[in-house]
């Protein structure tokens, strides 16, 4: 039976702690195994993966601590699809199930979920599950990051709760279907093997744990861990001011129709010990590939909830019980009917920031101003003339984060959904790809002015050594990263292309496969974060220090902060400053 036969209250605190620690250690080990054995760089370098243990109803027992933040206790739905399809009795030991089906998973098809059933004494007790970003799943463009697809069928192969292994044996027919429908099959099938290995290891360690402490005790501990997490989160919510807090923002466009912005609406209601996030009023799903399924909206809500309320507590089902989410069907974060989803997480960064904006009214001392949120995804691809080999780069820009309640915004970082993800070094790009980087530097004056300044954006300039093609996905140029409590917004992002024929510089924020000739330059500008508090209240000496460091220009100091600095002596004209600040 799944319900604990022993009342959980009888679990002694030492055993509980041992089980809690071992569950964390088990998933750490699974994570090491996956990131070390995967073939796709996006898995081990970008950490585009997660590993979970779930109970037999698909509730998250524990989740790996690494991996990108968006994958937050969200493998229950996909696993439940399999349970519905096969029944609880329909899984044999050694089965391996794949699912990336968009109507359930709600993400781009590259995110492949693979899970295995866990049996104890012949009975199904749960699942070990992984999600990992496969380099390619077929579809219109290599790697899958098209900005101009309009339905999911253009984006690659969909698998819905398919048993790729049956009783420990790979199903060769399914392998053939996968192999012949994707680019770089050796990479993705290598990743699949890594996922299988990680799931099996995680399941084995879980069974070792049960072997040592017994299933009844283990299960009672799991329920106790859920309940403890829930109680603590409720307690934290109870300490917040009650009420309904609204916020809105918008995205530039869906990549197909440049003239229509996409509104995001959030209402956060804090009640006695629950917190509701309501997305009613958010833009309907789009023709372009900016959509995510319902799981996208849920993930945004969970990430914002966890990072604001309990950043240090491990994620499990119990911790999310006090969160209620209202998400109407058919919005761009709850899309249905085979909507395109290649850039499924592009909107989520702004959705999360909008939730923070609402929360900033309730918890002003814990929420930063808006971050760049532009994604700034870019790819160069082609065939290297020197080696004759195909190549394809993939990175996203680093930008400014919003001013903190007690300090300037930190910069540069990837976006809020990226977590522990690194950029690609210039020396590595230039060694392996026919690219040349001319400079990589701060953009002064891009941080939103305020008593606490937003973090700065960056400028990176590429020059093409050979002909190639370019993909970009840059957002938030019309709704700049906002400030809080009188702070001003940061400067927005852009991707500017200048072809080698000497023509004009063109803004190319969302392009797919734009041809570039040798000699062309691509200038990537990332956004700064929002400021906090009135800029004129920023101490003059801090403004001067920013000017000395080149974070703020002499003009910027005068314009944004009312501080007059002599460009030659680098000293402040006190009288002029006082006059300007008074006006």
């Amino acid at each position: 039976m799944i319900a604990p036969a022993a009342p959980e209250a009888t679990v002694d605190p030492v055993t509980l702690e041992i089980v809690r620690n071992l569950l964390i250690a088990i998933l750490d080990e699974g994570e090491i195994n996956l990131s070390r054995t995967a073939f796709s760089p996006i898995i081990y370098e970008v950490k585009d993966y997660s590993i979970c243990l779930l109970d037999r109803d698909g509730q998250t027992i524990a989740q790996s601590r690494g991996g990108i933040p968006t994958f937050m206790a969200d493998m229950g739905e996909p696993v439940r699809d399999g349970i519905e399809m096969y029944g609880a009795d329909g899984f044999d030991p050694g089965d391996v199930v794949l699912i990336n089906y968009s109507a359930i998973c709600g993400q781009h098809l590259n995110n492949m979920i693979l899970y295995v059933p866990v049996h104890w004494e012949g009975e199904l007790i749960g699942f070990a599950a992984t999600r990992a970003h496969w380099t390619d799943v077929g579809g219109r463009v290599s790697g899958g990051f098209s900005t101009d697809t309009t339905e999911i069928f253009q984006e690659g192969l969909q698998l819905r709760s398919v048993k790729a292994y049956k009783r420990g044996k790979p199903d060769e027919e399914i392998m053939r279907i996968i192999r012949h429908n994707i680019r770089y099959p050796e990479l993705s099938l290598g990743d699949m093997a890594a996922q299988v290995g990680a799931c099996e290891l995680t399941a084995r360690r879980f069974l070792d744990l049960i072997g040592k402490y017994g299933w009844q005790t283990t299960n009672a501990c799991i329920h106790r861990i859920w309940n403890q997490s829930e109680a603590l989160v409720r307690q934290k919510i109870a300490a917040l001011p009650k009420g309904r807090f609204e916020a809105e923002s918008f995205l530039d466009d869906d990549g197909i129709d440049p003239d229509h912005t996409l509104p995001i609406k959030v209402a956060v209601t804090i009640a006695a010990d629950t917190l509701e996030i309501d997305f009613t009023g958010t833009a309907g799903q789009t023709r372009g590939a900016m959509n995510s399924g319902r799981s996208g909206g849920l993930a945004a809500a969970k990430v914002a909830f966890k990072s604001a309320i309990f950043p240090d507590l491990p994620a499990n089902d119990g911790a999310f019980r006090p969160l209620q989410i209202v998400l109407p069907e058919g919005t761009m974060i709850s899309a249905v009917d085979n909507a395109a989803m290649a850039h499924w997480n592009l909107a989520l960064k702004t959705v999360i920031d909008t939730i923070y904006l609402a929360l900033s009214q309730a918890m002003p001392d814990r929420i930063p101003a808006a971050h760049h949120a532009a994604q700034g995804l870019y790819t160069f691809f082609g065939r290297d003339a020197a080696t004759g080999q195909r190549y394809s780069t993939l990175d996203t820009t680093l930008g400014g984060w919003g001013a903190r309640p007690d300090g300037d915004g930190f910069s540069p970082l990837k976006t809020v959904t990226h977590g522990d993800t690194r950029n690609i070094p210039v020396e590595v790009e230039e060694t392996f790809y026919p690219l040349h980087v001319e400079s990589y530097a701060w953009r002064p004056d891009t941080g939103g002015p305020g008593e606490f300044r937003g973090g700065l954006g960056l400028r990176k300039v590429y020059r093409m050594i050979q002909d190639c093609k370019f993909v970009s996905a840059f957002e938030r140029t019309k709704c700049p990263p906002w400030g809080l409590f009188g702070g001003k917004p940061g400067q927005t992002a852009d991707a500017r292309v200048r072809q080698s024929d000497g023509g004009e510089t063109r803004s190319c924020r969302k392009v797919t496969g734009l041809p570039l000739a040798a000699g062309a330059t691509v200038e990537l500008l990332s956004a700064g974060g929002g400021g906090r508090g009135l800029p004129t209240t920023r101490p003059v000496e801090r403004v001067l220090e920013d000017v000395r460091q080149g974070y703020v220009t002499v003009d910027g100091a005068r314009r944004d902060y009312g501080v007059v600095v002599d460009a030659v002596t680098m000293t402040v004209d006190d009288a002029a400053t006082q006059a300007l600040r008074r006006s």
Partner: protein
């Protein structure tokens, strides 16, 4: 003549000395005496009754570098970069290791932006000059350094890993025309990735002046006391460095302290024929594990000053240590979940555990050990520091009451939870390299290591544990045995198909002779010299490489591929067919062994005469039961002790649970074979 090792730690300065002729060993311990660290060393020498004039070689482990870095007490430093790239140091890699911390920030850059200067020059990734160096800018640059009062300068140019020509020129100019301490990136790292290499160069420059001062002061004080021998420093790669090496590359001392224990573990492993070991060192605040793989200490190519989450990267071969915040002083408490938690908060040396009677009231791991009879209140630190069982009990009682549990259950729970945390660290050092911990033996030391080692080993299925003599002094002891060791690397970054193996072998010879040149300065005869060659290889599109050990002469590309696939398969359990392979880096370890302390095994056939005392001690699974308590000095080679038993000595206590057997080997180790585990 005497060979001496001095390990200056945060709280204690430790000394081990050996007379190579008689084989006599001496140990001493005294308090560390910041900022006059030399005083602690002199105190130790006096305590051990060593005449400074008789010291032939003094080996020294120090925390001076890591302290200067963590306390931000380095030199006023500048950075010179390629035009267009002065912000590399501050841009970093854009990652946020604390994924749910929306108020995240890193440590500030060591060199602020207004002290980062650009110079016109540019190379491409093949080392070709795209823009020549603007030599006319150099006098201006030197003048600016002077005007700004700069004490140290780092030079890190793009692609200097491939061709350092411009760095060499700038470095030579500045060394001639300024008083600054100068570090050029290629002098400390030949690896690509500009942020990490820049960070490494900057940190080296930052600590340069203070390490030079430290060496003058430390060496000067010893020489003033009559020392005429040679002074060597312990490098983070597990080897010994000369004073000159240290002045040039002081950053190589960043993990100078823990090296001794690892070197000691290699040595005692070699004596008894164990080549695969985990060195396990538990002290007051943390437990550290280091893997020893086929007789070599595992090193990692990237180290983080101030921790991975917010700190600064160092591209250098540093002992691969996995550390957890569990030590004797770790505090047990109830956290906000209402759950029992052990560490990472520590009672430190002051006030220390409740039982020290120095005002601490919070229960620690040491208090739990004392409460359960595993420590003897009257024999702690050789009886020099009596413990208060009543205070330990009071602290534990309070915690137990808040959880509604009997005190003994909570005390034993604290030990169990600690064991699990430490076992996780030990498991990590093995599984991250694809090994099964069950194939390794543990060498346990540090004040608290022997107290917990067997239980940690059992938790992960290890079968053998070695407790060396004087485990509380083992780090200093191990330093006596470290070799001279230089790590040299060269980034090649090309596909396997494009590697010319003859050329590769020639590059290895160049690296080896470069390393051998360093050895000319060590000033003592070399007994044996080893060159170990590695290639860092990976499948194309992977970021991580694996280190593949190569033979002295690699035959062809097929052999390279085969060696790579073997290593890959061992580590990951599978290897790919038909996948392109990159050779990213060549790596050479030059290992020079000089005359080293010879110890002789004990003669067999001694009679054990001492009898154990009896005491009631708690053991996992068995609860409280009377058991034998031995004094380690009374034990003789060949003697066998069956658990449950406790073996006490000066600065440490070994706990032998029921079913396990400890045998005293001819080197004085307690060699424990775990029994009864399933």
């Amino acid at each position: 003549m005497t060979i001496v090792a001095v390990d200056i730690g945060g709280t204690f300065t430790d000394l081990a000395a050996l007379d190579p002729e008689s084989g006599e060993l001496r140990f001493s311990k005294s308090l560390t005496t910041p900022p006059n660290f030399e005083q602690g060393a002199l105190d130790c020498l006096a305590k051990a009754d060593i005449d400074t004039a008789t010291i032939e070689v003094l080996r020294h482990g120090t925390t001076v570098v890591i302290n200067a870095l963590l306390e931000h007490k380095g030199a006023r430093t500048a950075l010179i970069t390629t035009d267009g790239f002065r912000d590399i140091l501050e841009i970093g890699r854009g990652n946020r290791p604390e994924s749910f911390n929306i108020l995240y920030h890193r440590l500030p850059p060591v060199v602020p932006r207004d002290r980062r200067y650009e110079i016109v020059e540019r190379l491409d990734a093949r080392g070709n000059v795209l823009r020549p160096l603007d030599r006319d800018a150099l006098p201006l640059l030197a003048a600016r350094l002077k005007a700004e009062g700069i004490e140290a300068v780092a030079v890190c140019l793009l692609h200097a890993w491939r061709n350092p020509v411009h760095e060499i020129e700038i470095g030579a100019y500045l060394r001639q025309h300024s008083d600054c301490f100068v570090t050029c990136s290629h002098e400390i790292s030949r690896e690509f990735r500009e942020f990490e290499r820049t960070s490494t160069s900057v940190l080296n420059a930052y600590v340069g002046p203070s390490v030079s001062t430290y060496l003058e002061r430390f060496g000067g004080a010893l020489r003033g006391a009559g020392f005429e021998g040679r002074l060597y420093l312990m490098g983070s790669n597990g080897g010994v460095l000369t004073e000159d090496d240290t002045r040039m590359r002081p950053l190589l001392l960043v993990e100078s302290g823990p090296v001794g224990g690892a070197a000691g573990a290699v040595e005692i492993g070699a004596r008894i024929g164990e080549k695969n070991l985990v060195a396990f060192d538990m002290g007051g605040t943390t437990a550290k594990s280091v893997l020893i793989e086929d007789g070599e200490v595992a090193a990692s190519p990237l180290y983080w000053v101030g921790g991975y989450d917010r700190g600064y990267p160092v591209q250098a071969s540093v002992l691969d240590i996995v550390e957890v915040g569990t030590g004797g002083g770790s505090i047990a408490s109830v956290n906000e979940l209402g759950a029992l938690q052990v560490g990472p908060r520590s009672a430190g040396a002051m006030p220390g555990p409740a039982c020290y009677g120095q005002g601490g009231t919070l229960p620690t791991v040491t208090d739990a050990n004392l409460y359960l009879g595993r420590l003897d209140a009257d024999h702690f630190m050789g009886g020099s520091m009596p413990l208060r069982r009543d205070l330990a009990a009071a602290a534990l009682d309070e915690l137990a009451a808040s959880l509604g549990q009997p005190t003994a259950a909570i005390a034993s729970g604290i030990l169990r939870i600690s064991t699990i945390a430490m076992a996780t660290a030990v498991r990590k050092v093995t599984i991250e390299r694809g090994y099964d911990p069950r194939d390794f033996a543990m060498v346990a030391f540090g004040g608290a290591g022997p107290l917990h080692a067997v239980e940690v080993a059992r938790e992960i299925g290890m079968k053998r544990v070695l407790i060396p003599p004087k485990p509380g002094h083992f780090s200093a002891y191990g330093m006596l045995f470290a070799d001279f060791r230089y790590d040299l690397t060269e980034t090649v970054a090309r596909t396997l198909e494009s590697v010319d193996v003859d050329e590769m072998n020639e590059r290895f010879v160049v690296l080896e002779s470069e390393g051998a040149r360093n050895l000319a300065g060590i000033g003592v005869p070399i007994e044996s010299l080893r060159y170990i060659r590695y290639a860092e290889m990976r499948y194309q599109r992977q970021e991580y490489t694996i280190k593949v050990r190569l033979p002295a002469h690699c035959k062809d590309r097929d052999e390279l591929r085969q060696l790579f696939e073997e290593s890959y398969r061992r580590r990951y359990g599978h290897a790919a067919k038909d996948m392109g392979i990159d050779v990213v880096m060549l790596r050479v370890v030059v290992d020079a062994r000089t005359a080293r302390p010879q110890q002789r095994p004990a003669a067999p056939g001694q009679q054990a005469t001492a009898r154990p005392k009896r005491r009631v001690v708690w053991f996992e699974g068995a609860g409280l039961a009377p058991c034998d308590v031995w004094q380690r000095d009374d034990l003789v080679a060949g003697q066998s002790i069956a658990g449950p038993a406790v073996i006490e000595e000066d600065a440490s206590t070994t706990v032998l649970p029921p079913g396990d057997v400890g045998e005293i080997d001819c080197w004085g180790n307690i060699a424990i074979t775990l029994g009864g585990w399933s």
